[in-house]
């Protein structure tokens, strides 16, 4: 009887594995197709886009990208903005999250509701006033203008608050007995404990900042301030979708590489982060 059950379980596992592999292949095929097209000449792709084998093969699409003098500048801008925004979001979210989780202060509930309400306001709704405000301050076409609108992230505060709430109070109480200040407790006890949550939030912020298009498009209107997404789009010809498909695909692969690398290195945290934000 037990042998039969374990036999069924084995087959069940194999079936699950087969389905997972199939789904993974299905997911991977479009990515493979993109890479294949990036390695074919544009003129060939105009005739046919079929097939997963890059023949005739060319690296010209990538060579055109790396030979452009402005590409390093755009990569640097993206890196500055993504790293800067990630650091600022982590600082603001962890401090605010800790305050909501552990501190008592006047109008805490009201402020919390206001903060959470921020989740319901779409980015586009504040786009024009934000753009006008930054114009009045004269800070468009700066790295600061690319970072600042994204520093206050309600979901980040919420994530950190939920994490801090789950930490046993006894840890803080022990530190209080040793006369540790509130900031010392935050800095030396709570923050080290929250590394998994901070890593997750940091990764998602970095990915979002790297992939962002709309705000950089209208704030960084000087080509020297383009981020890599806006910059790579700017070099496409008018009929790129039909006459320059290989170049578009090479741009897509090129711009995605840092994110793919980041994912491969930190995938454990990303998976944990998705589970954390879903479960809390």
């Amino acid at each position: 009887m037990n042998a039969t059950r374990s036999g069924w379980a084995l087959w069940g596992d194999r079936l699950l594995l087969a389905i997972t592999v199939l789904v993974a292949i299905l997911w991977f095929l479009p990515v493979l197709w993109v890479v294949t097209m990036s390695l074919k000449p544009n003129s060939e792709l105009m005739r046919s886009t079929w097939g997963f084998i890059p023949y005739p093969f060319t690296l010209q699409n990538y060579a055109d990208l790396v030979r452009l003098a402005t590409v390093p500048r755009w990569l640097t801008n993206s890196l500055i903005v993504a790293v800067g925004m990630t650091i600022l979001v982590l600082v603001v979210s962890s401090l605010a999250g800790y305050a909501f989780a552990r501190l008592q202060f006047p109008f805490k509930r009201t402020i919390f509701v206001l903060m959470i309400a921020g989740l319901m306001i779409p980015e586009q709704a504040v786009f024009l006033p934000l753009h006008q405000m930054f114009a009045d301050w004269g800070i468009h076409n700066t790295h600061a203008a690319l970072m600042l609108p994204r520093v206050a992230v309600p979901i980040g505060v919420f994530l950190m608050m939920q994490f801090f709430r789950a930490v046993p109070r006894e840890l803080e109480e022990a530190a209080e007995l040793d006369h540790a200040s509130r900031f010392t407790i935050f800095w030396k006890i709570m923050l080290p404990l929250s590394v998994p949550a901070l890593t997750t939030l940091g990764l998602f912020t970095f990915i979002h900042a790297w992939n962002d298009f709309l705000w950089p498009l209208v704030s960084a209107t000087n080509a020297n301030m383009y981020t890599v997404t806006v910059g790579l789009a700017s070099i496409q010809g008018n009929f790129a979708q039909t006459q320059g498909l290989g170049s578009i695909m090479a741009s897509a692969v090129f711009a995605s590489l840092p994110i793919v690398l980041l994912f491969l290195i930190f995938q454990r945290f990303i998976v944990a982060g998705v589970a954390m934000s879903a479960g809390k």
């Binding site: 003129s43 105009m46 005739r47 046919s48 886009t49 055109d64 030979r67 452009l68 003098a69 753009h131 006008q132 114009a135 004269g138 468009h140 076409n141 498009l217 209208v218 704030s219 209107t221 000087n222 080509a223 806006v230 789009a233 700017s234 070099i235 496409q236 010809g237 008018n238 009929f239 790129a240 979708q241 039909t242 006459q243 320059g244 498909l245």
Partner: protein, 442 residues
Amino acid sequence: MHHSKALAALALTTALTAGGAAGAAEIQLMRFFGDCQNEYGNVNDASQANGECGIITALVNQFNATNEGGHTVVVQTADWGAYYDLLTATYQTGNIPDVAVMHASVLPDFVARDLVTPLGSLFQEAGIDTADFVPAALQNASANGEVYALPFDLHALLFHINMDLMQQAGFVNEDGTVRLPTSPEEFIQMGKEFEEKTGQNYFATESQANEGMMVRFFNSLMWQQGVDVISPDGTTASINSPEGLKAATFIKQIYDEGLADPNLDALGADQAFLSGQAGIELIGTWMVDNFNAQAAGGQVALKNYAVANVPNLFGQDAVWADSHMWVVPKDEGRSPEEQEAAVAFLKFLNDNNFQWSRTGHLSVRQSVIDSPEFAALPHRSSYANTAQIARSLPQTQNQRAIYNAMISDITATWLAGAEPQAALDSAQSQVERILRRSNRGG
């Protein structure tokens, strides 16, 4: 001794160079068309460049190398799809370009907001002859009796033709010209005959509600019936008129009869045409040189390529067209010298309009169209007449929104089986709403 002579020569050269550059200005140019510095960054002769990106890059290089004022054009490229968002944003962010490319269909939005410089008197001073512009181009560049842009081309719809398939179908005249339909009924009947004899589709075009090639065709068919899609004063639309119903019913019939594949996007339509799966592709002037090169290259099924005006199916010659134009965005911070330099650059572009016509687009200058150089370009004589029959929507704002509303509803007739009259009523209602908003100043 030699050393001091060399220093003196250097000082003299520096002084002369500085003297020559007095009044020289830096002209900020914002445009789409892509970046091809890798290929054409060092080409100073526009006649040696090809394609939109190559020719405009070489034209700028040529101006920088040869203009007597010592002006320098600094180019900023932008994504075609997001270009107008970026250009509009520059009025807030401060780096307003001195010269910017603009579609005729977008110019009214900028004129209504007083964002572009009137150019009539500046053109006169610079010696740009607006009387040489073909009527459609001059109309596109003008508003309220004033010229606001330098028209650079007319890009219109054309019939791109596979002559081998036409021969197989028996649609080639004794003089070697193609026989095209002269009425909707004949179009359908010839299409059926073509498919019987060749086994291929008679017609191919982008049909997936992305670029709206068939809406441009719909507009052309409306003008061919003598009806304006939008009234000249921009207050009313005639989309759901009896003429609109005739046009939409005919277009739906093309798909219903299986004469065109409704699943083709822009690339799919090009591929179908190149691989000999369609006799005619409906697309614009911008594909002429590409198709010509592909046919000559011998790697595609298309070997014998021809071009024709969109035929007159409803009584009057007319075809949809838009224009690429150059404007000088208004900027209070721009000095008179910079403005003068910007106009000098526009004059250079106008003087070299022939080079731009090598892209496949039609020249906007009658003198260029009439020139032997233009006639000698591949296939140009087959569609030079398009410049005379080109039509555009009147100078009304929000044309992109109007266009998108029409794409959504009219495409539904073949993609979702919508009844033509119901689709046109819906489009009419949406477009009227947009027109009301435009006329309120929104």
